[in-house]
Amino acid sequence: MKARFLMPLVIFLGLAALLGVGLTLNPRDVPSVLINEKAPAFDLPDLFDPQKRVSTESMKGKVWLLNVWGTWCPECWKEHAFLNQLSKKEGVTLVGIDWRDEREEAKAFLAKKGNPFVAVGFDPESEAIMDWGVYGAPETFVIDKQGMIRKKHTGPLYPQIWESEFKPLLKQLEAES
């Protein structure tokens, strides 16, 4: 009973530890559940030519990245130069989905800043987006040769993340049959 006066201190330290852990967690971090699941199929009109279609079907047997973006999203502007570099220097196959956007604005954006995508699907009504569980832009998915989603990254891509998480994975996926 001698140490009784220490009780408030102990309670305080306990609370501080609990709240401290809470501070380090990111409440916006939604764990992805589609990893190692079959990628949902989409079939969207091409951004540049509405008569053409962009679909998951045409990407079969390739390792590719799906990047969801929109001209309204500031992080996508930041990320764009890096995407250009990935497609030009590293030869990464990028497919874009232009989400909730204006066709003309998106075309002007790519014309001005360069187009890193092999194809861009146009999705103003969030048709495909819902199926992929996208809740913000940019988001990037890695899809393997079997059409399975192997990785999802929320937020812009940048060199550190690319080197540490994407590059080794892509190398491994390319080696798979």
């Binding site: 764990p31 559940v33 569980g133």
Partner: protein
Amino acid sequence: MIRGWLFALLLLPFFAQAAIETAQFDDPDKEARYKQLIAELRCLVCQNQNLADSNAELAQDMRRKTYDLVQGGASSEDVVDYMVKRYGDFVLYRPPLRSATLLLWVGPFVILGGGIVILVVIIRRRSQQKSKATLSDSDLKRARTLLGEEDNT
């Protein structure tokens, strides 16, 4: 003249416009399920709002998807499964009971139980102290004097 103006003013509200999202169902049961679902599913970008309350674009999309699924004949479980598959347990305002959420479900009851135990211990201790508390004759006399029940002599 002024009457004419006032009359014109009366007509003004007819020009007011408010956008209301309407969802038409062919079956009242579907409508009830839709309403229950959007009240229980959580918007991902606005955090602590459900789909019904939020006007965020993503919430609108999710409402539309819910509508499509329900109208297309999906059961409430199907819709919840669809959302959980894509957005995780995060979309549920009523999280399922599993090891990761055990603390969430049991925690309040543990704290309540602890509180009751502490309460009982304190009450017991108090009543024990009370029964032990007996005054000696001289203390009793002094107390009476202080309370003015006996004359000061």
